[in-house]
Symmetry: C2
Subunit: 202 residues, 2 copies
Amino acid sequence: MHTLYGSAISGNCWKPAFMLRQRGLPFRWVELDIFEKQTRTAEFLAKNPNGRVPLLELPDGRLLAESNAMLMHLGEGTTWIPADAYARAKMFEWMCFEQYSHEPYIASIRFWKFLEARGADLRAKIEERTPGSYAALGVMEQQLVKTPFFVGEVASLADVALYAYTHVAHEGGFDLAAYPAVTAWLARFAALPGFVGMPCVG
Amino acid sequence: MHTLYGSAISGNCWKPAFMLRQRGLPFRWVELDIFEKQTRTAEFLAKNPNGRVPLLELPDGRLLAESNAMLMHLGEGTTWIPADAYARAKMFEWMCFEQYSHEPYIASIRFWKFLEARGADLRAKIEERTPGSYAALGVMEQQLVKTPFFVGEVASLADVALYAYTHVAHEGGFDLAAYPAVTAWLARFAALPGFVGMPCVG
């Protein structure tokens, strides 16, 4: 059985949980408290030197970090990875976009809002990253007015990656009213067979 | 023929240039001045709504953004992508690590140093991201004391992705003396057949 070390509030951790369920693979969930820095203990750093969740332990004990690498690994041989070479390349493009131009903005601000609820004052950081968040939503909107999913007619790993933090963006205070194609895509994704959103575990 | 829109000072742009050369594919290089915001013009945003280089134009005119997506696309069918499923997953892991935990630190600081040479004062931002830069080098060191390349005995796309900004880290003021395995890996990569480092174009 797979073991998934994660945090129930993390969209990155939702990604492999979603894909394990899509594959019909049972898994054990180990909840780590990221507020208590449980991913920075010596024991966990021995498993993932980068000190982050999610961390996937394969049935044979081998380890894999990075949520989008887990999607690639779990998605191989499924229709979540397009057969066409260019469509596959565009899927990679959107997955890279998600980790570089979306997650550090929308997910970070959502996390900082959680920290603010615990007493921190992160207004300056939140303000600095807000324009980048809406820029990412704007780039998504431009694609989704053209195609129902990011790489065409069918959902791919790109949609899984981008759904993660977009469907909880309101928890970061984001208003998606100006992004009707993104909003329609969120509903389209949630209607996929076997869909489970956040928190799906913990 | 492929066309690559890029900046000669960008490690992200070096990645697809390196792989095009490895594949023996001739390409046209279009230099854009990122200091002059030439990636934010209406003309370029029509090609890449995310407003970044590199941008790869395939011989048939189709476009692909995101340096690591280009590596995946150009690397398909070559030994740069491991045949073993777990090794391939680890390659993805290191490519995600590069974009999330390495590039935003080491590459950003190098770029800010270039901006400082043009009169900007970015000391606070540089100071904020310096610990993360050395943390990334530390994670790399831990792997490279165990294996000659990131995913084992043979160079993969993970090495291309991580070589990009590590081999010019000194331009960001980073001292690699405390990372002997990283230093040895840099020399090992530069000894690969057909190697061309930065600036390889422009």
